[in-house]
């Protein structure tokens, strides 16, 4: 249409949109005027009054149809139609307020939980960690090929790599490096996340203004010893220092190192600040006694982020930086400090976690695991709403039949029903926004109450809104599908006669609904049972060794090269001091930490060649290990002090029962020889029972204990003691400090670390439990609604049965048996759904000590019983209503 046409028609278009009612009235007047004039004309030709009118009507054609066709020619006819549908939906929603409220609430809950968690995941995984010009933000992810293990390895950068990139790159405007580190703040006994970083770190993230004080000046991060300055995050400032207004200039201690606070980073950026305390990365050697990463030319330790120079893309940066890293690789290999033939490839991402190759799979898995159950809750909500709509559609079948008879097309009818769902979903969606903002905060408060430096900042972006839109569209379609189908298949004649039998809604539909709800509910209840049992399992298990009277003393000593002699003296003195503490029984070392997964080693028998051996976990322990950990000896003996040879490694080994069974099934392991990967031949002198030290409550696989050499250093130091742990912990701490004041340690009994683990599980369990309760509630109300609806539908059938002589018990039982069959099918479907989810979960947690069995009958059993019991209660009411059917009344209504 040309511009001139528009000029003519714009007023008309606006009128047809805004003054629709007046236009409607005018059209009516126009058409009636026509008919009247025709009637007059007919009369003037000598027809009678009535005859003239009828003839005029006949020659005019279908009045309603003409009006509709004329409507269609008006501009924005679709909008008008939608508006009609909308008004219609609004009317029918108002007519059943309780019903609408229930539907809206169910959807608000379902959508709100989903959007809320997605908002959180979006902030954590999907977004670039900056609000300022995210397009130019880059994160560099190096990957080594040809690593010792042969597999590719995601890695980080060495200090030299960082310096090379910083000085040579043209595509990057600015590069910042950082490393997360757990350190002790002041005399506290909890570790706090600190971030060692270059001084431009905040600037690269787009945070330029400190809340209090200032950020680092560029000179504070150069040289081999950085300035002793620190920036606090706002949560740490508030929680640990009471928001002290004079914090700037104060001296605090990180791992015992004194640093001066120069500023506080604002918390609205804290979401992306990966720590609570920020320090120059040049302080690393002073914080970490064990390793000097800063000056080590070979150890990768830094993560790199940066900003693209205007005009360059991430691909440009990748090409250039790969070239720089290849030069670095050559330098590395030429230096020949390790046997590693380093080859680096590089990925340049937008900084979001999901794009980082190292955690892509984990992040994706976590998102699936968190959003999956929530999607199930939404599905449950949708099936509830679908049930409600379905029952309402059928209650309104008389009205629908009349609409159809008057010439409304079935597609138009479907549109009307869709609009009703859309209206409900939209109101629910709008309400859900309230939840969407609360949920992440609630979750974070439960999960990380003590770790207050993690605050998720919520800024809904297109991803969140898109997700919300997808959810709402899906909910609309899902909840209107069945009512539309019912309306579509409505038989006009029987419906108009009001003689519709029980067959309107096939029992297949109601069965399907019950099965779906039970199955979905089952998956979520399973999750709740798994997590609900976890803390109890952790605390209640018997690992097979002493955990209450065993204290872990974490120390941090540089044992490499020139520091070795000093470290040796330190350890010797420490052992003496520890043994002098009253209550201390013994001191021992172990190579492995309990409740951690360790890669197995290949162990061979003397005649086996390399590669044909079997895997076993190897723990390097000192002589007192078995007595300290309370592991008794089954056969042979434990290590003796005389086994420790002063020259080289010892020749004896103690094996676990599982090891003995695997290598010498049925035979006596004592005196047999085994071969270590480095071709050392060792003789078995003792057999000890299997412990549960890798996974909670799960027996370890084959285990081998080798004897620690007399001059070996490092490893985990344990103290066995009698009496109360509390005074002893202080004494141990003092003993360590008296030898090396820079050591700031928190000794913990193994039991205490277990309790910590259990506590963190309690937080997760609480969230899962809340989710599952919502799901259970929805499933149960759903089952109740479906069954009441089905019973209502079958009233006539029950009446006839009773008239034919069926007793009330028979009717009651028939309803209940049918429903129980559906529950059984639903439970089976639930197992089929839960099993793959559990497998996935298991794979994600492969490296954690949580005991998860792929097909856990206990979990399935408890969940099934719980769900069946609750849904039977929900079924009782409709079934008893069926029983009370009055045959006379029901049959008389026909």
């Amino acid at each position: 249409m040309r511009l001139e046409n528009w000029l003519y028609t714009i007023p008309l278009r606006i009128r047809s949109l805004l003054l629709r009612q007046r236009r409607d009235a005018e059209l009516d007047e126009e058409l009636r005027d026509h008919i009247e004039r025709q009637a007059e004309e007919n009369r003037s030709r000598g027809m009678g009054e009535e005859e003239a009118r009828l003839a005029a009507l006949r020659s005019f054609g279908n009045f309603v149809a003409v009006r509709e066709q004329t409507h269609e020619t008006w501009a924005w006819a679709t909008i008008g139609r939608l508006r009609q549908d909308f008004r219609c939906a609004l009317r029918s929603a108002r007519r059943a307020p309780l019903f609408s409220a229930v539907a809206v609430l169910a959807l608000a809950l379902g959508i709100g939980l989903n959007t809320g968690v997605f908002t959180m995941l979006n902030a954590m995984f999907l977004r670039a960690p900056t609000f300022v010009d995210p397009a130019s933000f880059v994160q560099l992810c190096p990957r080594y090929s040809g690593w010792f293990t042969g597999a590719d390895q995601n890695s980080s950068f060495t200090t030299e790599d960082f310096d090379a990139i910083r000085s040579r790159s043209h595509t990057l405007d600015e590069v910042s490096a950082w490393r997360q580190y757990s350190a002790l703040l002041e005399q506290g006994n909890k570790y706090i996340t600190t971030l060692l970083m270059t001084c431009n770190y905040f600037h690269v993230l787009g945070i330029d203004r400190a809340e209090v004080g200032r950020f680092f000046a560029s000179g504070e991060c150069t040289g081999r010893t950085g300035a002793h300055v620190a920036v606090l995050s706002e949560p740490v400032w508030k929680n640990q220092f009471g928001a002290d207004p004079r914090i700037v200039g104060k001296t605090i201690h990180i791992n015992g190192v004194p640093v001066t606070v120069i500023g506080v980073a604002p918390s609205d950026a804290a979401n992306y600040l990966l720590g609570g305390v920020f320090l120059p990365y040049t302080l690393e050697p002073q914080l970490n006694h064990a390793e000097d990463l800063l000056t080590s030319p070979d150890t990768p330790w830094l993560s790199l982020t940066g900003r693209l120079r205007p005009g360059f893309t991430r691909a440009d940066a990748r090409a250039e930086l790969t070239a720089i890293m290849n030069q670095q690789d050559r330098v590395y290999v030429q230096r020949k400090t390790t046997a590693f033939d380093r080859k680096t490839s590089l990925v340049v991402t937008d900084g979001s976690e999901i794009e980082s190759p190292a955690i892509h799979n984990l992040a994706l898995g976590l998102m699936v695991l968190m959003l999956g159950p929530l999607a199930l809750i939404l599905l449950l909500a949708c099936s509830n709403v679908a049930t409600l709509f379905l029952s309402r559609t059928l209650a309104r079948r008389g009205e629908i039949a009349i609409r159809l008879a008057l010439g409304v097309s079935r597609s138009r009818l479907a549109g009307m029903l869709l609009m009703e769902s859309l209206l409900t979903v939209c109101i629910g969606g709008a309400l859900s926004l309230v939840l969407a903002y609360r949920v992440p905060l609630i979750i974070m408060n439960i999960m990380a109450a003590d770790q207050a430096n993690f605050v998720v900042l919520l800024r809904p972006d297109w991803r969140v809104l898109g997700y919300l839109a997808i959810l709402m569209a899906a909910a609309t379609v899902l909840s209107s599908l069945m009512p539309i189908r019912a309306a579509w298949k409505l038989d006009l004649l029987t419906a108009l006669k009001g003689r519709e039998g029980a067959a309107t809604v096939r029992s297949r539909t109601t069965s399907g609904l019950i099965v779906t709800q039970i199955a979905l509910g089952f998956v979520l209840v399973c999750a709740a049972v798994i997590f609900g049992r976890m803390p109890g399992l952790i605390k209640g298990m018997n690992p097979g060794f002493e955990i209450h009277q065993t204290l872990n003393v974490p120390i941090d000593v540089n044992t490499s090269g020139k520091n070795r002699a000093k470290a040796q003296v330190f350890y010797r003195d420490l052992e003496g001091k520890l043994l002098a503490i009253p209550g201390v029984q013994s001191v021992a070392y172990a190579g492995l930490q309990p409740f951690d997964q360790h890669p197995p080693t290949e162990i061979r028998l003397p005649r086996q060649t390399k590669g044909t051996g079997q895997p076993a976990t190897v723990d390097d322990v000192s002589t007192r290990f078995f007595s300290l950990f309370g592991i008794r000896v089954l056969k042979g003996r434990a290590f003796l002090s005389s086994d420790v040879s002063s020259v080289g490694a010892s020749q004896v080994v103690v094996v676990s029962e599982a090891f003995a069974k695997q290598f010498w099934p049925g035979g006596d392991p004592l005196g047999k020889a085994i071969v270590m990967p480095d071709d050392r031949h060792l003789t078995v002198v003792g057999v000890v029972p299997d412990t549960r030290s890798e996974r909670f409550g799960v027996l370890d696989g084959p285990r081998l204990y080798t004897l620690r050499g007399p001059s070996d250093l490092g490893g985990n130091l344990y103290v066995g003691f009698l009496g109360s742990a509390k005074p002893l912990k202080t004494a141990v701490r003092e003993a360590v400090k008296s030898l090396d004041p820079t050591q700031t340690i928190v000794p913990q009994t193994i039991w205490e670390s277990l309790e910590d683990q259990a506590e963190s599980m309690v937080a997760v369990a609480r969230i899962v439990l809340a989710m599952a309760s919502i799901a259970l509630l929805m499933a149960v109300t759903g089952v109740y609604c479906v069954l009441s609806f089905a019973v209502n539908q079958r009233r006539r059938e029950f009446g006839i049965k009773m008239v034919l002589g069926a007793s009330r018990t028979v009717v009651f039982r028939s309803v209940l048996v049918g429903a129980m069959r559906n529950i059984a099918i639903g439970l089976m479907c639930g197992v089929a759904l839960a099993e793959p989810a559990m497998l996935l979960f298991n794979r994600l947690l492969a490296r954690s000590p949580l005991p998860l069995r792929p097909f856990d009958l206990t979990v399935f059993g408890i969940s099934a019983v719980l769900l069946a019991a609750v849904s039977l209660i929900a079924m009782y009411l409709p079934a008893s209503r069926a029983m009370r059917t009055d045959p006379m009344r029901v049959l008389r209504t026909d």
Binding site: M1, E4, N5, W6, L7, Y8, T9, L12, R13, S16, E26, L27, E29, E30, L31, D33, H34, R37, Q38, E41, S59, F60, G61, N62, F63, A65, V66, Q69, T70, E72, T73, W74, A75
Partner: protein, 111 residues
């Protein structure tokens, strides 16, 4: 609900425009006129005129105006706009061309 299915698409529009070009008319008068001039050849139910009229109005070719008529009544009178007049000229020219072409072809086949 009969639609002027026999008519070439758009013919009714042209006829309406042509009649309205002569003088503004209301719906009923227009339908009478249509029957008259087409010699009852066009079998169109009276009602189906209105969707066509409203469509023309939406396109800006005719405009409507309520005017009083005899016996204190009022009726909606349609008249041609400037745009409509131009459109009519184009359509008429088109029609001439097409009908000339068609009759030319028909005459050829008869020979």
């Amino acid at each position: 609900m009969s639609k002027p299915a026999d008519l070439v698409q758009g013919t009714l529009d042209v006829l309406v425009l042509k009649i309205l070009a002569l003088q503004p008319l209301h719906g009923w008068a227009l339908s009478q006129r249509l029957k008259q001039v087409s010699g009852e050849v066009l079998q169109v139910s009276d009602g189906s005129l209105y969707p066509a009229l409203h469509k023309l109005e939406q396109q800006g070719w005719i405009k409507a105006e309520w005017k009083p008529t005899e016996n204190n009544r009022r009726a909606k009178f349609y008249s041609l706009t400037r745009l409509g007049r131009r459109h009519l000229e184009q359509e008429a020219a088109n029609w001439e061309r097409i009908s000339a072409a068609i009759s030319g072809v028909l005459r050829l086949t008869e020979v």
